[in-house]
Amino acid sequence: MIGLELFSLQWFEIFCGGFCVLAIFSFLAKENPFYRIFEHLFIGISAAILIMEPIRTFLWPQALKPLLGMDRIPFPDGTYPEPYAMSYLLFLVPMGFGLLYYFILSPRHSWLAQLVIGFSLGVGAGLSFKGIIVEMTPQLTDSFRPLYVVGSFGESLNNIFFIFVLLTVFSYFFFSFKRSPNGLMVKSSWIGRTMMMGCFGAFFGATIMARMALLVERLQFMIAQWWPALSQLWR
């Protein structure tokens, strides 16, 4: 690495990064304590970041700071740009209700935590109505494709195939009435199953390539950054 000072913070950053990669890849040989330690380290670091992120980006700036009046910076003469909004005190209600979660730690009063868990489940259910319909509607309208496109035979064939796959896969999950052996539904669902296999194959290929991209990036890091940084030790 040109321009990287030995034992500087950047050097240690690269050195530790490579060490971490080696520790994780050591799992390929067999499960070992070296891998376990770094796996736990990753969980610890991730947990800390996941805990702090919502506090930094939401809890403090949007709730606690205005509630405590700390979002108002005084002018040089000691007056404030705007008065404290008493409506911020209303934040205490959801915060107090949310604190009921902690009763889950008390066997006697755990039912109080169930109130807030139930409330959250209800909110999740209420939001999912909107979420599902908002997500489904554009896909549903896009699925109504013209089977004959004027002047484009290829496009027409593509659309026919699209609808064919959609309907056959639908038929695989259609259990509302009894299927007669060798009936249309049985054949259609067999085709649907085959189409799904093709779809899973394509998805599988895309997933492998995404993982491979990560692997290549790590190998590039090891070869282009870590090894030159390490070799500075005996140069």
Binding site: A47, F129, L166, F203, I208
Partner: protein, 343 residues
Amino acid sequence: MTRLRNKLIAFFTFIGGLYFFLEYILPAHIGGLEFGKYHEQISLAVQLIGLMAIGLGLINIFRVHGVRILKLQGGWFNSFVLLLGLAFVLVLQLLDFRRSEQRSDLLLEVKNFSLFVNRVVLEYEQKQIDYRPRLDALIDRLGVLKTQVKNSSSLLATGKQLDSERTEAQFVRSAEGAASATEQLKGALWQNNYRETKKITLDQLALLQSVTQELLDLNYEASPARRWGNFVFNGFFTPLGSAMFSLLAFYIVSAAYRSFRFRSWEAVVLMIPALIVMLGQIPHGPLYVYSGLPEIRRWLLEYLNTPAFRAIFFGSAIAGLAMSIRIWLSLEKSPLNTEETKQ
């Protein structure tokens, strides 16, 4: 008593979903009532309720791993490393957070100087409130900030960094310029001819604000908490995460070898699109076998993958909708139901 509690839980579950359900299905205005008027506040409150559980996760981690360490159970050292990493990053994040907050507060204070000058002039015009002590307070504050930079004793002092000395000198000049312009504004207000001077003062304060922003950014990036935070992120978190996920590539390939052998019709159908998608994504090299593969790959993803996944999604979405209604109306058997749990 238990039945009453269960009814209460069901009631809270119903209330939780009711607003968001109605907010979606009802029109925005019903007569004179605007239904979603407080939607932002209600969403904020719901998020706050959820966020209160953050500490619970932390307590559980400390309980599970703390007990393992105290009792020296198997894997106690791993737990120790986990808690050490957690505590270290938490402390770093807290220090970084504190610094970042101090930085944004100071920047807001400097931004507010322009607002302050406007207010002082307006209140003098409308209510005849004395402007002199108020503008003197601003001049004093500018003097304090300037001295702090000179003595390297505030967030505006960056130490001996690249470009920082130049920016520090710029800050001192801007603060002096702003103080002098404010002094002139006082005189102009006395003579009741202040329009031009006020504009000059506001321009000086705007300049000061941009230099302050630059200085605070330099200071923040140079702070130990920030640098060590970056060290942990780039030296541990990113490589560990990437390596962990790339490790799966080996296992996926190994699983593919076992399942993709031509043993059944489905295996063949699974393998061919997978191969096309993989080969179609390779831009060059020995595995770049055919120039038309990217187009075939695109066609497969658009006309086979999309409708098949869409059909699966429609089915699961309808099932999800039904499940949501059951949860919302507490028709679903739930571990929250204490009576059922006891049975």
